[in-house]
């Protein structure tokens, strides 16, 4: 644990909230007792393996499973024939696309395979090794088709078409030819042309980045068990078991109530576990065999077939006045959605220009299909790559004008009452506080050594609220259980119990939180969008307050006074008003003991649609050292400054900040998918998919700023996503500053850095 520092507005003097407490899941995790996706073993369980496409794009002519089915130990095989088909979804589409035509084909290829690793069939056998061998006996005839991997190329006329039924939305007249470009989202305000004309300087640059994987440590794993009466139990590593239930019920045309989905302990997700992949096949095989079926994906399968975030091409043009005032900004962006539409274009457009007031602005963000796995969410989906582009150009403007990059941003920073390009009206936000904290941080002006460069970037993220349910049960002995429905991916159980203990005024160790299955609680949306501590936290506070009300009524009943004359303080019911000090207070423990003999069990529950999560800001300072002979890069110092609203559990907030920075370092420096000429993925393991390891990064400094969110009882803002938003930007800008040359293409891997340095030397000669 490092000392996390705090600055800014800190209000409220709490016993648990804002303090580091023992983590409730810690002991089980360090002793190996915690049960992850592949720790579930059921009697009679079969093992599933999938056959996956070796082609980037091919028509399936036939699939012959007979040899596999004839093998001893093989109990069933499923293909697309076993998956219910769905018609394509019709417009209008919301910001997030939901299309069961696509989903049914992503989990099992139907007419075509669309990427290397696309699932084609699944086998259930008595052992994993038999299942593996059976997979090799399935014969598939393919007609290989040309493929396309780059989003810009894929959007051009004449590119190989992935979906013959997809016509670009919103074009008049309706296009005659199908296209990989699904739609373009964006916004516009002011007068762009005039804005650029009125600018003292306009800088335009093009940037590109590669898809990067969330890189969660635990590969996807599940166990499905269906019974003769059509009930389905599913144990799976997911960021949202209620969402999985909805998807599975609609995909398989089964009543939602037939499903009982349990979220296992989860070894990371970062957005990557927000949908379903192998679960439908495991359920279908369980239905066919009547036996539980387990599937554990390999790392190779995870990299080939599950969603990374999108790769991008961004053209950014920004104009400003000499004094640093931003006047006009224009962005055109191509995001590769992967094999099916639905890249994070909507969120992207409300991210990169949003920290600033820019009177004339336009964004256009294209959602393009390519022959890669369908993109999934990844911490602030869509924001980091475009944020890099915008922040790099703003820094260049500052340099040209001789302005300090933070001062220039302060000049344009958004405040309470401002409205973003995409129409978000801001309440109390901490953009200025974060920038001020960055400027005053010792790192910001620390001297650099030879071959080192510094990058500064600011990031914005608008958080989600949404649907959450929680229930709290007070037990006879005065302890409390909390039932939650949002998987704990970043320490939410710790924060939930801190808030419950704070409300009740009892020792935090008396509260035991648990993530329960879909049959045990009202609906919960995903643990994603930095929403859990905000939304589920509110539900927990509500549920706990309901318990307090009931305890006050019980005390009133015992004292024979009215409930209005009872108040709750620090774990006790106290007589108030005219009875104040006249009756002996009841402790929570006494009341809990009285309850069974009087009012009965005491519980509270809350089901909400949380609004007002609002935006938060994160600034990062990165120092990178370059080996001038090899182009090797070393992050030597990195600082993250984040407005957390209120850090309920500061250690966890610090962990989120450090994790985001590390992921950004990997994204900017070395992570990339390497495909061969046939569109086959070559780096299917962590040895060659170069995520940073612990020794690659310095200790990441953190500074938590607290500008409490007025919409949350404890002032929480989301902290999961903002730490990644400006991270690749800060690192990439540092590399460019170190070598004194623009690169504009991520990752800035050693060969590219060396080539840029050589080009720089040539140019100097």
């Amino acid at each position: 644990m490092s000392d996390n520092q705090k600055s800014g507005v800190v209000g409220g003097n709490y016993r648990w909230v804002g303090n580091n407490t023992r983590r409730p899941d810690g002991v089980d995790k360090v002793t190996g007792r915690a049960r992850y996706g592949d720790d579930m073993v059921l009697p009679g369980m079969l093992h599933m393996r999938m056959l996956r496409s070796p082609h980037a794009h091919a028509r399936i002519l036939s699939i012959d499973t007979s040899d596999a089915e004839a093998m001893k130990g093989v109990k069933a095989v499923v293909t697309h024939k076993d998956v219910p088909d769905h018609p394509p979804a019709k417009p209008p589409f919301g910001p997030a696309v939901s299309d069961f035509h696509d989903l049914s084909r992503n989990i099992m290829a139907r007419e075509k395979v669309l990427y290397d690793g696309h699932a084609v069939a699944a086998v259930a056998a008595t052992t994993e090794s038999i299942a593996k061998r059976a997979v090799r006996k399935i014969k598939v005839e393919y007609e290989i088709l040309p493929h396309v991997l780059d989003p810009y190329e894929a959007a051009q006329a004449g590119a190989p078409i992935l979906h013959e039924h997809q016509f670009t939305l919103g074009l008049e007249p309706k296009p005659k030819e199908p296209s990989n470009l699904f739609r373009t989202l964006g916004g516009e305000q002011g007068n762009l042309e005039q804005g650029f004309e009125n600018s003292d300087l306009v800088i335009e640059r093009e940037f590109s980045s590669q898809p990067v994987h969330q890189g969660y440590i635990e590969p996807l794993a599940c166990v499905a068990s269906s019974s003769e009466d059509g009930a389905v139990e599913l144990w799976t590593s997911t960021q949202g078991h209620f969402v999985a239930r909805t998807l599975l019920s609609r995909l398989l045309n089964l009543d939602m109530s037939k499903f009982r989905v349990t979220a296992s302990e989860i070894g990371g997700g970062f957005g990557g576990k927000t949908t379903i992949y192998h679960e439908p096949a495991a359920i279908l095989l369980s239905m066919k065999t009547g036996r539980p079926v387990r599937s554990v994906m390999t790392r190779g399968e995870v990299l080939r077939a599950t969603g990374p975030t999108v790769g991008s091409v961004c053209r950014i043009k920004i104009g400003a006045k000499k004094d640093g005032t931003l006047v006009a900004a224009d962005a055109e962006i191509w995001y590769q959605a992967g094999a099916f539409k639905g890249g994070p274009v909507a969120r992207a457009t409300d991210s990169f220009f949003s920290p600033y007031k820019i009177p004339n602005a336009r964004t256009a963000c294209h959602d393009v299909c390519v022959n890669r796995p369908k993109a999934a969410a990844y911490r602030a989906p869509g924001a980091p790559m475009a944020t890099w582009a915008a922040e790099a150009v703003i820094n260049e403007l500052a340099t040209e004008f001789g302005l300090d990059p933070v001062e220039m941003r302060l000049k344009n920073a958004v405040k309470e009452g401002d409205t973003s390009l995409m129409g978000t009206k801001h309440g109390r936000i901490g953009c200025i506080e974060v920038l001020e904290a960055a400027k005053n941080h010792p790192h910001y002006n620390a001297p650099l050594k030879k071959n080192q460069g510094r990058g500064f970037a600011l990031g914005y993220w608008l958080h989600g609220g949404g649907l959450s349910s929680a229930s709290a049960n007070l037990l006879d002995d005065g302890t409390l259980t909390l039932a939650l429905g949002t998987p704990d991916i970043g320490g939410s159980r710790s924060s939930m119990r801190a808030m419950a203990a704070e409300e009740l005024g009892i020792d935090i160790e008396l509260v035991k939180p648990a993530v329960v299955d879909t049959a045990s609680l009202g609906y919960n949306h995903l643990t994603a969008g930095s929403r859990t501590t905000y939304a589920t936290g509110m539900a927990v506070v509500n549920a706990t307050r309901e318990i307090i009300e009931k305890l006050c009524s019980l005390a009133a009943f015992k004292w024979e006074i009215s409930v209005e004359e009872v108040r709750w303080d620090s774990g006790e019911a106290l007589p108030a008003d005219k009875y104040a000090g006249k009756l002996k207070p009841f402790s929570l423990k006494q009341l809990a003991k009285m309850a069974p003999g009087t009012v009965g069990p005491i519980a509270g529950h809350s089901e909400i649609n949380a609004k007002g999560a609002g935006a938060s800001f994160c600034a990062q300072i990165s120092d990178i050292e370059i080996d001038p002979e090899t182009g090797g890069t070393s992050p030597v110092r990195h600082t993250v400054i984040l407005d957390a609203g209120r850090a309920i559990s500061p250690d966890y907030v610090e962990g989120q900040m450090q994790g985001g920075a590390v992921q950004g370092i990997g994204w900017a420096l070395n992570e990339e998918y390497i495909y061969d000429d046939n569109g086959r993925l070559l780096n299917t393991g962590f040895l060659d998919y170069r995520m940073p390891v612990a020794s690659d990064v310095p200790m990441i400094d953190t500074l938590i700023v607290e500008v409490p969110n007025p919409k949350h009882p404890y002032g929480v803002r989301g902290v999961g996503e903002p730490p990644l938003v400006p991270a690749p930007a800060a690192v990439a800008i540092a590399v460019e500053n170190a070598i004194g040359r623009r690169m504009g293409d991520l990752p800035m891997s050693p060969p590219k850095v060396l080539a840029a340095m050589d080009a720089q030397k040539l140019a100097a000669e």
Binding site: G73, S129, E629, N670, G685, L687, R690, P751, L754
Partner: protein, 290 residues
């Protein structure tokens, strides 16, 4: 269906017998390559023969004339032997670069050699040391010079049913030093883009009396680079020598473009690394006065 059979014989002869019994049987040392290959379905052997119970593969013997290292000694174990580490610091730093702390507790020097990856870290250092590879098989025991052991990616000089029992390294003369450096984009858990092993012995006047220079990951097998050795012999490590060494290394490269690096990049970095490695070996040799 027959599963995967596992045997752990106690003697060299028993191991040869088992290897001869089942076609395609695989030797198992630390398993950090073998088990990964089985899991990734690159190979599907019916028998694996674990050689870790064979005494000869599990010891280090240091005599006045030679150093004998059992093939199944792990990187961690080799690093703990202070006498060995003082004699061949470059070989030791090479095995201690393999993977991570955890991987080094399993990964063996023989396994690194026999896996025959062109990028194997210990191999350039082993070649630079002038080691001989001791091989046992149905026809008896033979010794192969280290530089002749790797034949192609994934292929070695081992004949059917042979396996490596140990490696024999010379005892370095006075004023000797060796070193190994590799380039990877990360700091660990990565495979060399280029690896360079250099060993030198110096004359009393500081000129080079003998030298061996080897490169990894820049050709189908690790290379002993003759021109680089010639550049060093009789010279001091001045700028002219370093420039010659750099060029000799670049000229020797015959790399591929792959997921770990491009031809152009690998060639350039080979020159840089050889210079840097030679400088470390030189400094060590200068400190080894007797």
């Amino acid at each position: 269906m027959a599963g995967l059979r596992y045997e752990a014989p106690n003697t060299v002869d028993a191991a040869i017998g088992l290897l001869s019994e089942v076609a395609g049987a695989k030797v198992l040392a630390g398993g950090t390559d073998l088990l990964v290959q089985i899991r990734e379905e690159m190979i599907d052997p019916d028998l694996i023969v674990d050689i870790k119970r064979i005494d000869e593969t599990r010891r280090i013997e240091i005599t006045p004339d030679y150093v004998k290292i059992g093939a199944a000694m792990t990187g961690a174990e080799l690093g703990e032997n202070e006498e060995l580490a003082a004699m061949w610091p470059g070989v030791i730093e090479a095995v201690e670069l393999i993977g991570s702390w955890q991987v080094q507790g399993r990964a063996t020097i023989g396994g690194n050699l026999c896996n025959a990856s062109p990028a194997a870290d210990s191999v350039p250092a082993i070649i630079a040391s002038g080691a001989k590879i001791v091989v046992a098989g149905p026809q008896g025991v033979r010794e192969i010079p280290a530089e002749e052991f790797p034949k192609a990616p994934g292929r070695t000089a081992l004949e059917a049913n042979e396996f490596v029992v140990s490696l024999v390294l010379p005892v370095p003369p006075k004023r000797s030093g060796d070193a190994y450096l590799r380039f990877i984009p990360r700091t660990e858990m990565d495979i060399a883009v280029v690896g360079a092993g250099v060993s030198v012995s110096l004359n009393e006047d500081g000129t080079c009396a003998s030298a061996r220079v080897a490169l990894g990951a820049v050709a189908p097998t690790a290379l002993l680079v003759k021109d680089a050795i010639d550049a060093l012999l009789g010279s001091k490590l001045d700028d002219v020598t370093l420039e010659k060494l750099d060029k000799a290394a670049r000229d020797a490269c015959n790399p591929i473009d792959d997921k770990r690096g491009t031809i152009e990049y690998r060639t350039k970095v080979a020159g840089v690394l050889v210079r840097r490695t030679a400088a470390i070996a030189w400094e060590r040799a200068q400190k080894q006065n007797g």
